[in-house]
């Protein structure tokens, strides 16, 4: 227990992630950028799923709102990345608060269906509002953030611009993770756990359950929006399918695959899903078939996801060593 606590895993992973551009491979940097951005998306969903016990089928809506906000501000209005990024978080948080206001009035499957309904509305608007979103064609040629200042920095100055973008994204994602971690470990986070465990009882320790669910929903939307903003830039374009229901399903799968009972579970799930997708599509076109099989095995054999299984294995190993 104490040994595990003393190893600063988070720091080790962060430093390892910082060194990826030194591997010198465009492809590794590309994969790593994809992973860290979607890891943030998945962890933001877990604030609802794992911590508050709310199943959202429409989390992609806020990812898309963030991506379009940042993309439109930068492309159409020439606003710098920093402001676009913050605005993406704020606007997606506001929309999450607006939609969430209605969603938290329902429970269980009705809650899930309403989140899906709002997400479909967002998707339809992105698809049809040609003059602003670019419609079906999407928002193409979103300008890259101006990272010229990084060229004058020591150690990283002579890297490719994709590597520079990766490092910026990594730092921003790490900051978001730090904030999210603080939130889930706070008294507020503990109250969210009581709602997950038993909303009726939570009411009768004096908690206005709906209000706290709404707060969690808005926060989750905010961080989904921030990840969406980064993804739009990484992707060099924003498209309506960012908000499509299959994107919402994908992020749910990431969270469940990695394990929603642990803070890092969904991030591990995001990495696993992206890497598996890369590897398997190289050999076969039946990726969805393989993914389905993996999910079925996981749900029956390791209901706690990858991180849940690893943790259980670690606990068993330690028990044997102590015995």
């Amino acid at each position: 227990m104490t040994m595990a606590k003393r190893i600063p895993w988070t720091l080790i992973v962060f430093v390892a992630a910082l060194t990826i551009p030194y591997l010198g491979s465009r492809f590794y940097t590309f994969l790593a950028t994809d992973i860290i951005i979607l890891a943030l998306f998945a962890v933001s969903l877990n604030l609802l799923l794992g911590y508050t016990g709310l199943v959202s089928f429409g989390h992609a809506a806020y990812f898309a709102i963030g991506a379009y906000t940042c993309g439109i501000l930068m492309k159409t209005y020439g606003i710098p990345f920093g402001i676009g990024f913050v605005a993406a978080g704020i606007l997606s948080g506001l929309f999450a608060a607006l939609f969430g206001f209605f969603c938290v009035r329902l429970t269980k499957i009705y809650f899930a269906m309403l989140t899906l309904a709002f997400a479909q509305i967002v998707w339809a608007i992105c698809l049809k509002w040609n003059s602003v979103t670019g419609g079906e064609q999407g928002l193409l040629n979103v300008p890259s953030p101006d990272l010229g200042w990084m060229a004058s920095l020591p150690l990283i100055g002579d890297m490719r611009s994709a590597d520079h973008f990766y490092l910026v994204a990594l730092v921003l994602v790490a900051l978001c993770f730090a904030v999210l971690r603080r939130i889930v470990d706070s008294p507020f986070g503990r109250i969210l756990n009581t709602i997950r465990e038993n909303p009726e009882r939570a009411q009768f320790i004096g908690i206005d359950v709906r209000r706290y669910e709404l707060a969690a929903f808005s926060l989750a939307g905010t961080f989904a929006g921030l990840s969406g903003a980064l993804f739009g830039l990484f992707n060099r374009g924003v498209f309506p399918d960012f908000g499509y229901w299959s994107k919402s399903a994908e992020v749910l799968i990431m969270a469940i695959l990695g394990g929603m009972g642990h803070f890092w579970g969904p991030a591990v799930g995001a990495a696993a899903l992206i890497l598996l997708n890369q590897q398997i599509t190289a050999y076969t076109q039946y990726w969805p078939f393989i993914l389905g099989t993996i999910l079925i095995i996981l749900l029956f054999v390791f209901p706690g996801g990858i991180v849940g299984a690893l943790h259980a294995g670690y606990v068993r190993l330690r028990a044997r060593r102590d015995a």
Binding site: R182, I183, D185, S186, P187, F188, G189, R190, I191, N193, T194, E197, N198, E200, R201, A202, Q203, F204, I205, G206, I207, D208, V209, Y212
Partner: protein, 245 residues
């Protein structure tokens, strides 16, 4: 402390509670008894805002609380337990009580400090008074049924209530567990100078600690008084006690 006036509730034409009035004086122990289906749980849910009354009025410490939401009623100083044990099953025993303390102290909005060691002393003090201190780090769903009921009492006490409403506090307990629980309950009520209103099916429990008994039958109050008066009441003997003895 608690005044109930002519409260009514029906479900699809079935009258569950049909005009009940009851006074619960401060620092008293009152039991509501009645056969299954008499409307005891419905009556409780009307008091705590879980159900909305069709008519009637509930006042607590002089304030009208009819139609007030459960979380607000809890904040006014009413604690309750539920007939089916209602705890936070995947949290530890410690976290169960601590969460209630966090909510009571108005710290629930605090999203920036660490929760782990918050109110450690206060939490342990409550667990000690319930005899659960040695199980503080156990996951609460692993506790025995009797201990879970005690934990639920602990969650209610963490809100520092003036009035405690317990719905069948000894339901599903063995005879030994029941005796221990009642002794514990009597001690805590005396120590904290609480007003206690509870429903119960176990007559031994009722007559051992209640100062006042109200008898519900088919949604109506058919008798009210001291244990001796209720025991002697002919109507009560006929509809209720008679059925059992």
């Amino acid at each position: 402390m608690l005044e109930v006036r002519d409260i009514r509730k029906s479900f699809n034409g079935f009258t569950a509670v049909g005009g009940v009035s009851l006074d619960v004086p401060a620092e008293s122990i009152t039991a509501v008894i009645g056969p299954n289906g008499a409307g005891k749980s419905t009556f409780f849910n009307l008091l705590t805002g879980h159900l909305r009354a069709d008519a009637g009025r509930v006042a607590f410490a002089g304030r009208d609380i009819t139609g007030v939401a459960p979380h607000a009623i809890c904040r006014m100083g009413i604690g309750r337990s539920f007939q089916h044990t209602n705890i936070f099953r995947n949290l530890t025993v410690f976290q169960n009580v601590q969460a209630a303390l966090i909510a009571h102290a108005g710290q629930a909005r605090n999203f920036w400090s660490r929760a782990d060691d918050l109110y450690r002393e206060e939490t342990l003090k409550i667990l000690e008074s319930l005899g659960l201190a040695d199980k503080a780090d156990a996951v609460s769903s692993a506790l025995s049924h009797g201990n879970q009921k005690q934990l639920e009492l602990g969650i209610a006490l963490a809100s520092d209530p003036k009035l405690l409403l317990l719905d069948e506090p000894t339901a599903g307990m063995s005879a030994t567990e029941t005796r221990e629980s009642i002794r514990l309950l009597a001690r805590i009520v005396a120590e904290r100078k609480l007003t206690l209103l509870f429903t119960e099916h176990d007559m031994e429990v009722v007559f051992s600690i209640a100062q006042k008994i109200a008898v519900l039958h088919q949604g109506k109050l058919i008798a009210e008084g001291t244990p001796e008066q209720v025991r002697a009441d002919r109507e009560v003997r006929r509809v209720y006690l008679g059925e059992r003895h």
